[in-house]
């Protein structure tokens, strides 16, 4: 009962905002090209989502047809770039972070360079990325990798450096070799940090993918809303923006579910 009331109060403000927005349009207070009505956005959203052609078995399976809508193709394109960029950026950051956290020598060698590069926003790499990789997926993936790289790196370093030394003492006491100490103690002890880094990195990757699509690619959600502006389709811009928001929320929820599932041992550890 209490939960329902909680949920009900949670949709109160969004509903009011929606109502106000609808009111603005219905009363004709704002130009529909500047701000279309929610209804108009919803209609456009559906048009953007549904398949463009009529189903034709000769063209392929029903499932493929279902996913042939522009929005779904755009979302898949964006997701693909996020995933590839995140895997490359995170995949490079993880081993480097482990090495830097574990070895003072590696930290001393790499940290100065990292500290200089880290404050450069991934967006500032746009000119170079186009110069180096031209247009299309490669520059986008490059930018996304940079966006994902630093959060994963910094958190991995912190995770390894913050392993409680008592665990290492236990390891030595039980006769663990250095390799065993690393794989069975340091690595698992650092995973909460690493997962936090991955979640932040994923968030950054998602921001960067939208930006990079506005510049270097001609599909994807970022490209689509910029394209819609050229035709003054503000309803499509807003539909695209909501899609981006929902997709981002979905990715973040997935990441947090995954990490709390894998870190069952860690949940609520701070209190206990």
């Amino acid at each position: 009962m209490k939960r329902y009331r909680h949920a009900a109060s949670g949709i109160l403000v969004p509903l009011a905002a929606l109502g106000f927005w609808q009111l603005l349009s219905t009363m004709g207070w704002v130009n529909a090209t500047i701000l279309p009505s929610p209804m108009q956005v919803l209609i456009k959203w559906w048009a953007y989502l549904r398949p463009l052609e009529v189903f034709d078995p000769a063209q392929g399976s029903y499932l493929a047809w279902c996913f042939s809508g522009e929005l779904i193709q755009d979302a898949l394109g964006s997701l693909y770039r996020v995933l590839v960029g995140f895997l490359i950026g995170g995949g490079l950051a993880l081993p480097l972070g482990l090495a830097m956290g574990y070895s003072k020598v590696a930290y001393g060698l790499f940290n100065p360079l990292i500290q200089v590069l880290r404050p450069i926003p991934p967006i500032a790499y746009i000119p170079l990325s186009i110069l180096w990789f031209g247009l299309g997926n490669p520059p986008a993936v490059f930018l996304i990798s940079i966006g994902a790289f630093f959060p994963v790196l910094m958190n991995t370093v912190a995770g390894v450096q913050n392993v409680d030394s008592i665990y290492l003492r236990v390891g030595r006491n039980l006769g663990a070799s250095r390799l065993t100490q690393f794989t069975r103690i340091i690595l698992p002890a650092a995973t909460p940090y690493i997962f936090t880094g991955a979640r932040i990195g994923m968030g950054t990757a998602f921001i960067v993918v939208i930006v990079s699509e506005m510049i270097a690619v001609n599909n994807g959600l970022g490209y689509r809303i910029l394209e819609a502006r050229e035709y003054l389709w503000s309803d499509k811009i807003i539909a695209g923006m909501f899609t981006i928001g929902l997709l981002g929320l979905g990715i973040d929820t997935l990441m947090s579910r995954l990490s709390s599932r894998l870190l069952r041992w860690h949940r609520g550890l701070e209190q206990g």
Binding site: V170, N173, P188, A189, W265
Partner: protein, 271 residues
Amino acid sequence: MTDMAMNSGSHISIRGVHKVFQSGGQDVYALKAIDLEIAQGEFVCLLGPSGCGKSTLLNAVAGFSLPTSGGIDVEGAAITEPGPDRGMVFQEYALFPWMTVEQNIAFGLQIRGEAKEAIQARVGSLLELLHLQDFRKRFPKDLSGGMRQRVAIARVLALDSPIMLMDEPFGALDALTRRNLQDELLRLWLELRKTILFVTHSIEEALYLADRTVVMTYRPGTIKRDLRVDLPRPRDVASPAFNALKKELSLLLMEEQNRHEQDEFKGAAVD
């Protein structure tokens, strides 16, 4: 050779151990000229106020922090590093939070490279020995302090090390759980005949458990008194004999506590 002959019968032999720390450009003697012989199967408590170096001595025997000078031999061989022959139980339990109870207990055996079936059997019998069967799949965060310490003890027992080092293992537990685990520990000790070196600041705990209680002085850490406790077990903490010893140790400990406090006041005055 003569050394070994001299120390025959002693399991842990601590000779002329000094441990010096640098503090503010000055040498601080955490341990000074410690000589202690501990026999096979003996239960020895190190007792003293905080800062008396009892944990420093334990860490030296464990091999975590070797003495500045002097030597520690175990079964005639000098200690150079930590090892599974001297299992350590920490006050903070120090269980690996990402491992379940049984994984924690099995870890040392896996390191040693034992066969899967052997590990399983050994872990099973330890779970039973410490009444942990119902908790085998739990993570440490879901256990009470007493249960966690049982797991930590089982983890050390798994390796069947001849020596158990215990650093105020029951210090964080409530009185009832504490007494319970003390009895449990005595039962295990009588059954397994380990040599136990146990650090505590509780007089009652030391007298309840130990064959010998070694009282240490506050800085520099030296041995103030090496008291043999000959009371029959299970010991009655309310008996006159127990209380007489308790009183005796209280007086010794109070002297050290006072020195400790004076030292702190002096430090505060300088600041």
